[in-house]
């Protein structure tokens, strides 16, 4: 008997739930003395609510959701581990891709496809009084919402006025693309690959191009839970870090694909899962697990930019309360002998300088950054 409490952890059917699924299947949780039940959940709101009230001990969570959870009187969350970098992408329907190629062949052939061709189409459609194009993402507080908005706005498309943005659950993205209900989406793996494999869509830009090393999901739990269960939290972090390292190892990918494709996990064709693992998603390398302050502040800057939080909010205080690199480092360092030499993170590389358009981001001036975009909802206080 380890003396540790049994845990129930939630996840959403997406490739980046891998660290949780692997930690359970490969016995990393058991190796830490933890008996863990995984609970597949249907919506991010349910994940947040169940973690908030303690019916889940922790969960696969959207980074911005962990940051926003405590802002409106909800339970304060912690993110002591980042689950992955990259994996998501912006995909448009084949029909829309064809139109974009007609209107702007050069822009669509560029190595980095911006939303400039789309901006021309939006302009043309406005002239024809055509209804706005509809794009889907997974939740208002998600990397996918901010990535899509950033990409659109960078080309001068106002995401609130020039197109229609809707929330669609990840497993429904592909069928909504097929039915024509949406024209494109930003979602995590494997759903972009599924759309491509079914001949329904084309990927225009991947997360790794939009922001090399950019953030995505975290392991989230409440601050109260962490305070009451420090032993369990440390054990869970150690197991998840080992699972992340295992999941990055190309030699383990066949097994990981089989595991994730199972109907009780993600439940899609193995090839669709394999694609993002080969080239895109990172769980552990390059200190991917470190929940970085600058990532939290970038998320918060986008919440301010799009009017989700008031500009008076102390963004740095929120980032430091929720994103906890100290907890990650402590757990990772305790694994040193197991995972040497890559695991000490004393000299973790600084994050990539910024997003694809090269606008510099200074984390301590997150609000100024948010306000300086030509398209921004931060009210200019005179």
């Amino acid at each position: 008997m380890s003396g540790l409490a049994d845990l129930t952890l939630g996840f959403i059917p997406l490739t980046d739930c891998a660290p949780l699924v692997v930690a359970k299947a490969q016995g990393f949780f058991a190796g830490e003395g933890l008996e863990v039940t995984l609970s597949r959940e249907a919506s991010w709101a349910t994940i947040r609510d169940k973690v908030s009230v303690g019916s889940l001990d922790g969960a696969h969570m959207l980074g911005p959701m962990a940051l926003a959870a405590g802002l409106n009187g909800g339970a304060a969350m912690l993110a002591p581990l980042a689950l992955n970098q990259n994996g998501s992408a912006i995909t448009v329907s084949s029909r829309l891709a064809t139109q974009l190629r007609e209107i702007d062949p050069k822009g669509m052939a560029a190595p980095l496809i911006t939303a400039a061709p789309l901006a021309r189409l939006v302009e043309q459609r406005r002239g024809q009084d055509a209804p706005p194009l509809t794009f889907a993402m997974v939740f208002p507080q998600s990397m996918h919402n901010y990535a899509l908005r950033y990409w659109l706005a960078q080309a001068g498309i106002d995401p609130d006025r020039d197109v229609r943005l809707v929330v669609t659950p990840p497993p429904r993205m592909v069928e909504h693309l097929r039915s024509g209900e949406i024209d494109g989406f930003c979602v995590g793996a494997p759903w972009n690959a599924v759309a491509v494999d079914e001949g329904l869509g084309e990927v225009l830009i991947k997360a790794s191009q939009l922001w090399p090393g950019g953030p995505d999901k975290v392991f989230g739990l409440t601050a109260t839970w962490a305070e009451r269960h420090p032993g369990e939290m440390r054990a869970a972090l150690r197991a998840l870090i080992r699972a992340s390292a295992w999941a990055d190892e190309p030699g383990n990918h066949a097994e990981l694909v089989a595991l994730l494709s199972r109907p009780d996990h993600v439940g899609v064709e193995p090839e669709a899962v394999a694609r993002a693992l080969r080239s895109e998603i990172v769980f552990h390398r390059n200190a991917a697990g470190l929940p970085r302050r600058e990532h939290a502040l970038w998320f918060l800057s986008q919440m301010a930019r799009w009017g989700q939080v008031r500009p008076e909010l102390d963004l740095e205080a929120v980032a430091d309360a929720v994103y906890r690199p100290d907890l990650f480092r402590e757990a990772a360092a305790s694994l040193g002998p197991v995972l040497e030499p890559a695991m000490l993170f004393a000299d973790a590389a600084p994050p990539a300088s910024g997003l694809f358009d090269g606008t510099p981001f200074d984390p301590v001036k997150a609000l100024d950054y948010a306000a300086a975009f030509p398209i921004s909802r931060v009210r200019a206080e005179v």
Binding site: S43, K50, V53, P169
Partner: protein
């Protein structure tokens, strides 16, 4: 609390009948809701396997009934958050629930959270309460938004007054009278005229790019 004559009473919806959308892949629940609402006239209960925003907009239901474990929850929550098209009272049901989950769901904007399934005998009262609570919340949100807008408008007027005092050498009273005259001449609210004035002043100073 005195009734506000400009607002329909919360149960005004009920007097005009009830339109209920049940989002459920299985048709049993919709049948049960219809049974529980027998006697409400006119009544329209529709079922959809999944949430389709356009379909919902066309139907314009008073209440949306949805299982707590439906993936469509995120979509419904995002609509509420954006405070936009067709906000609806949302009733969520679940067969079993852990302590606290109902309160948490209500905090996140769900109008009623029903544990132990949905018995026909309870449907009517649950939906009535959900619609009343939703109407009240909408009104409070509206009041709050108006209060904020009023405050904002007052600040804008103050700034525009300051600008006129500086640029035109007017005293405070004179600046206000000028703003009011501009507003009356143009048939616009004074806050709008003040905002336009500030925006044009910004352009003249080269702020806009």
């Amino acid at each position: 609390m005195d009734p506000d004559p400009s607002q329909p009473p919360p149960d005004g919806l009920r007097a005009e009948g009830m339109r209920v959308l049940v989002i459920d892949p299985d048709s049993a629940r919709a049948a049960l809701v219809a049974e529980g609402l027998a006697g409400v006239q006119p009544l329209e209960v529709r079922r959809a396997a999944t949430f389709d925003e356009r379909e919902v907009a066309a139907f314009a239901p008073d209440v949306v009934v949805i299982a707590a474990d439906s993936p469509d929850r995120d979509t419904l929550e995002s609509l509420r958050e954006a405070g936009q098209h067709n906000p609806r009272a949302v009733v969520m049901f679940v067969d079993r629930s852990e302590p606290g989950l109902a309160e948490q769901a209500v905090r996140a904007g769900v109008a009623a959270y029903v544990v132990d399934g949905l018995a026909p005998a309870r449907v009517r009262s649950i939906l009535d309460v959900a619609m009343s609570r939703f109407a009240l919340t909408q009104q409070l949100r509206g009041d709050l938004a108006k209060a904020k807008a009023d405050l904002e408008s007052r600040k804008t007027v103050e700034r525009a007054k300051g600008l006129l005092m500086k640029e035109r050498g007017l005293d405070e009273d004179g600046a206000y009278r000028l703003l009011r005259k501009l507003a009356m001449d143009r048939g616009k609210p004074i806050g709008q005229v003040a905002a336009d004035l500030l925006a044009f002043a910004g352009v003249l100073k080269g702020d806009a790019s």
